[in-house]
Symmetry: D2
Subunit: 338 residues, 4 copies
C-alpha cells in the first residue's frame, strides 16, 4: 500500500493516520523524496482502503501487491521522465543516447569523444573513472582527477556525464562533477550504496546484476526510491547464461517486461549485452524494439587501443551509423504506439 500525503498534512492528522494503520496491522515506512511524501505500508490483513484514503491530509492511496512498491506501475501508471536540464530528458517520448569510452583515459580522448558526440547530437557521455576490474593488477581508472578534468570539458560543451560510483565514500567527492550516477552490475545488490544514492539529488542509472532477476532489480530500485530519490533508470546489460559464445546474453524479455512492471525508464547496454563489436548494432536495435527508452554504448576514437573493453567498443563511424539507425527505428516504434 502506498499513501501519498498532502504537503499540508498536519502533525495531528499524521498521528491519526499512523493509529489507523496500527489498527489494521500495517507496518508503515515514511518516504520523502524530491517530489513527494509517502507512507509505504506493508501488511497482510484485509481492509477497506477507502477508510484510509478518506482521511484528511491524504492525496491518494493505492494497493500494491508487488514486493517492490514505489517503483511499481501498479501505483504510478504514467512513465517517469528524468530531466537533466538544458532540454535533455530521459523517458517516454525522449529516446536517450549515451555514448563514450569504457574508461576515461586522457584529455585528448575526452576531447575527441566530445567532438564526436556534438557532431552526432548526443548530449550524454558515459565513461568510467572508477573501474571494477576482475583482477587487482588491472588498470582501475583515473579516479577523481580524471572526473574533474572530464567534467570541465564536458560541461563547457553542454554534455552531461554519466559515470559509475563504486562505494559510498566516493559519492561526496564525485557529486559536483556527475550528472548521472551509474551503479554497476557487480554492485546491483550493494544495499548500502543504494541507500546512500537514495539520499542524493542526482539521477541514478541502476544496472541489473550479472544474474539478477526482475524482482531483485526492482527491489534494488526500491532501495533508492525509498531513501528519497525518485530519479532512477534501470539498465539491462545482458545476463550470465550457460552460453559462452558471447560475453553476456542480452535479455530483451527483461526490457519488455520491465516497461510493464515499472514506471521508471529502461536503458539498454548492447555493448555489454553481447560484448562483440560487430553485433552491437543489431543488439541495440533489437533492444529498442523491445521497448528500451534509451541506449548506452561504448565508443572510442581507436577502439583497438582502448584501455578496456576494446573488443566491444564501436569506432566513431560505426557509432554514427548506428545512431541514425536507432533514430529511424525509434520513429517507427513511436508510430506503432500512437
Amino acid at each position: 500500500m502506498i499513501i501519498q500525503l498532502e504537503p499540508t498534512i498536519s502533525a495531528g492528522q499524521k498521528a491519526d493516520l499512523f493509529q489507523q494503520l496500527k489498527a489494521i496491522e500495517v507496518k508503515p515506512a515514511e518516504v520523502s523524496t524530491q517530489f513527494g511524501h509517502y507512507i509505504v505500508g506493508v501488511g497482510k490483513k484485509e481492509f477497506d482502503i477507502r477508510l484510509i484514503g478518506s482521511l484528511p491530509g491524504i492525496r491518494d492511496i493505492h494497493r500494491v501487491s508487488d514486493d517492490y512498491k514505489l517503483v511499481s506501475r501498479k501505483w504510478k501508471v504514467e512513465d517517469t521522465t528524468i530531466d537533466l536540464g538544458g532540454g535533455i530528458r530521459i523517458g517516454t517520448g525522449h529516446f536517450a543516447l549515451m555514448a563514450g569510452p569504457c574508461s576515461i583515459e586522457s584529455e585528448d580522448q575526452i576531447a575527441k569523444t566530445i567532438e564526436h558526440l556534438k557532431q552526432s547530437g548526443i548530449r550524454i557521455m558515459r565513461g568510467g573513472v572508477y573501474k571494477p576490474r576482475s583482477s587487482p593488477y588491472s588498470f582501475r581508472g583515473l579516479g577523481i582527477d580524471g572526473l574533474k578534468l572530464w567534467y570541465e570539458l564536458a560541461s563547457k560543451a553542454g554534455i552531461r556525464i554519466i559515470t559509475e560510483v563504486m562505494m559510498v565514500e566516493q559519492i561526496e567527492d564525485m557529486l559536483e562533477y556527475v550528472d548521472v550516477f551509474q551503479v554497476g552490475a557487480r554492485n546491483a545488490q550493494n544495499f548500502n550504496l543504494l541507500d546512500a544514492l537514495g539520499k542524493v539529488d542526482k539521477p541514478v542509472l541502476l544496472k541489473r546484476g550479472i544474474s539478477g532477476t526482475m524482482e531483485e532489480l526492482l527491489q534494488a530500485a526500491e532501495y533508492i526510491f525509498s531513501n528519497g530519490n525518485e530519479r532512477i533508470m534501470l539498465c539491462e546489460r545482458g545476463i550470465r547464461t550457460y552460453e559462452s559464445a558471447y560475453r553476456n546474453t542480452m535479455d530483451v524479455n527483461a526490457i519488455a517486461m520491465l516497461k510493464a512492471k515499472t514506471h521508471l525508464p529502461v536503458i539498454a547496454d548492447p555493448s555489454h549485452g553481447i560484448g562483440i563489436r560487430r553485433f552491437v548494432d543489431k543488439i541495440a536495435l533489437a533492444s529498442l524494439m523491445a521497448g528500451a527508452d534509451g541506449v548506452i554504448m561504448e565508443v572510442h576514437h581507436t577502439p583497438e587501443k582502448a584501455f578496456s573493453d576494446g573488443q566491444q567498443t564501436l569506432s566513431f563511424p560505426e557509432a554514427e551509423r548506428l545512431y541514425q539507425q536507432l533514430e529511424m527505428a525509434y520513429q517507427l516504434r513511436s508510430s506503432f504506439e500512437s
Copy 2:
C-alpha cells in the same frame, strides 16, 4: 575442408582424390544432397589445398576450421534460400511469417486459421499434431488423421504446412502431408531423427535445444546436411536461464551471431521465446531487428480456449497488428543493409 565435386567426376578421378586425401591423413566423408556432391574432410596436418583443388573433377575446395562444416558460412558465403513452391521463399530478401495454433484441434479451428492467414497474406501455417508434453496424461495431439485433414484444407488454400515430427517412424507417414518438418527443442540432439531427416527431400526447421549452444545447434544442422538435405532453417526459441519471470529467455544474441556463422536462414519463435502473450509483439520485433529471416508464432481464434499454450498465443486481431508492424520493420531493416 569441403571439396565440391563436379557431377561429371569419373570413378578413377574419385579414387585418385581419395588416395591424395589418405596421403595427407584426411578422413573423408562423402555427402550427396539435392544440390551437390561433396567430400567433407577432417584432418590435422598442414598441407596446400591447391594440390587437391587442382585435381580433375573438383569444382572447388575450402578450408573450414569450425567443427561444423557444410552449414558454415566459411564455406558458403551466400545465404541459402528455401523454396516452398508457389512463390513462397524463406531466406534473405523474403521475410517469412509462419503462424498457427500450438495444437491442431479441429476442422473448425483449421478453417478459421486458414481464413485468418489468407486475409493477412500469410502462406505458411504452423500447428502440432504430435505434441511433446511434459506429462503423459496431457493431450498429445490428433496425430496423422489430424495432419491429413489439415493438409487437405491447407493445400486447397495454397497454404504450406510446418509441423513437428518426433520420431523416425513418423516420417514416412507424414511425408506426403508436410511441407516443412519441424524438430522441437527437446529433440534438438536426437541424432537418429536428424539423420533420418537428412534423407528426406523436405525442408527442416531445427529448433535450438532448451539449453543448446550455438555450436550444438550448428552441429545438429550438420547432421541433417551431411545426410543429404541442404534445406535447413534454424530457429531460436528462447533458452533456459535462472530467470523464472518468463517461460524462456529469448536470445537475440544468438540470432545475430547465427546469421554470421551460417548461410542457413534463421527463424525466431517469440511465442516460446517469452511465453507471455502481451509481450510477443515486442519480442518478435526485437528478433527481426537482430537479423531474423522470419518469425513463427502461435495464433488462435480463441486463445483462452486453446488446448495448449494459450497463455502465449495471440488472437487474430493481435496477430494482424503484429504482421503489419513486422512488415514495416523489415522494410526499415532492409534499408539499413543496402
Copy 3:
C-alpha cells in the same frame, strides 16, 4: 489420485468404478505394469476418496498432488528395489556400482574390463554401442554387433550390461542382449522412446536432461511407468550452468531431493558430473553422501587411448581405490540411517 486394483476385479466392478470417477470429473488412465494394475486419475474437484476406496475390487487409493503420480513417494512410501537376477539388486540396502568404458571398442577392451570388474566384485558393466555425438563425423559406436559380442563375454562372466538406447527401432534388436537400458541426457524428453521403454520388461536407467528440472525428470519417469514398466532408476549426471571450469555441474541437491520425492533408486554419474578425471573420486563420494543408491562411472584400461571421454575416465587402479572408498563411505552412511 492413484487407485490400485485387485487382480480379481470384475468387469462390472470396473465399470462401476469408472462411472463413479466420471461423476466426480476425474479423468482416468489405466496402467498395467509387471507388478500391478492401476488407475491414475486427474481431476480438480474436491471429494471424499473413501467413497472410491471402499468400492469392491480396489486394493487401495491415494491422493497424489504432484503432477507425476506413479513415481511419487506420496503414493508408494517404501523404496523400489530392482532385481537384476543372480543376487544383483539396485535400491536401498544394495549400493550399486556400475563401471565400464564410455564406448565399447574391441573384444580385447571388453575382456580387460570384465577381468577388472570381476576382481573388484563389480557385477554391472556400462558401455556404449550407440553413441550420441555432437558431430556427425565422430565415432558413433560399434552398434548391434558390438553389443552381441559384449553380451556374450559379459553373460559368461555373470556380469550385467547397461547400455544406451537412442531410438525406438533399436529396442527390439537390443532387447535380448541388454540387462538395463539407459536413456541418455539428450533423450531425457524423447517421449516416444520413453513410451516404448515402458512397454519392455527390462529395467531402465533414465538420465536427467542437460538442463532438466526435478519435475521434468520425474515426469519422464512417469512416461515409462505409466506405459507399464515399474523398473526405473533415475540418474543425476550434472547439469549445464554458467560455470565453464568443468564439463557439467554435479547437482547433489538433486540427489538428496529425488530420494525424498520418489521411491525409485537414484544413481550418480560423477564422470559426466564433473568431467575431469582427477576429481571423479571426490564427486562420487559426495554423491553417495547426498544419498545416491549407486554410482555409474567410466573406467578404461588405458584412459588416454579411449575412443571417447578419456579425460574423465579412471584407470583400473584409480577405480579400484575409489570402489573401496565408496564401500567404506556407504557403510558409514548406513550407520547414520539406522
Copy 4:
C-alpha cells in the same frame, strides 16, 4: 610471477630488482602482508626466471600462469592454515565447524546458541548483525550494538565470532568485536570492500558470488591478499541455476576444484547451498566428501520463529546429530588421504 623478498633486502637491491623487471617488461606490484613481502609481476615476454631468482635479497621466485597469483597453489603448494587463537585452527587437519543463527536477534538467543555450541564443542559462531535483504522494508539486523552484546557473551565463552561486513565504513567500528569478517555473496565483487579487508589483520571468509565463477572467486581473494591480508577462506554457498526446486544449487565440483587450485581453506555453506532444512545434513556431508575444510551452517533454538532464513535453519538437536556425522565422515575422509 611471484618473487618473495628477504626481510633483509636493501633499498639498493630492490632498486636493482625493479630495473631488471623493467628490462624484461614485467609490471611489478609490491605486496606486504602479515607474513611476507612479495613482488607480483605481470608480463608477457619469455625470460629465464633464474636471472631474477639469483639476485641478492630474493628468497624465491615462481612462475604463476593463472590470472590470480598469490592465492594460487602453483606458487604456494602447502595448505594455508588460519589460526584464530586458543587452539582454534582452520585448514587441512582441522575440520572447522561454524554454526549460529542467520540473524543475531536478542541476548536470549545469543545465550542459548552459545550454550548449544559449547555442549557440542563448536568454537566458532556465525550470525548477522548487518543483513543484506532484497527488500528495503525487511529487518536489516541489530547493527553494531547487537555485535557488541554478542561479542561480550561469546568471548567470555571462548567462542569466536564470524559475521558479515557490508561496507568499508563498517570495518573500523566492527574490528574490535569480530574474529572473522565474512563477505557475502552479493559483495563478492565489491572490490573496494575487498581492498579494505586486505588492510585489516583479521581473517576473511569470502563467499562465492551468486553466479560467480572459479576465476572470479580466486581473483576476489587475490584482491584481499594483494592488499596485505593472507588469512582468507573461500566459501561455496550454492550457485544460481535454472532449477527452482531449491534456493541455490550446491556446487561440490567447485569445492573439489578449489582445493586443487588454491592453498586457501575452502568452507561449505549447506544451509544456503540448498536452502531447505531437511536436506542440509546430506549436503553438508556431500560437501565434506568433496574436500571442504569446514562447514558453516545456520542453527536456531526455534527455527520456525527465526527472524530470517528459518526454512533452512536446523534446530539444535538436528544440528547435534549432524556435527557427529560430520566428525565421523571427516575421520573416514582423512583415512583416505593418508
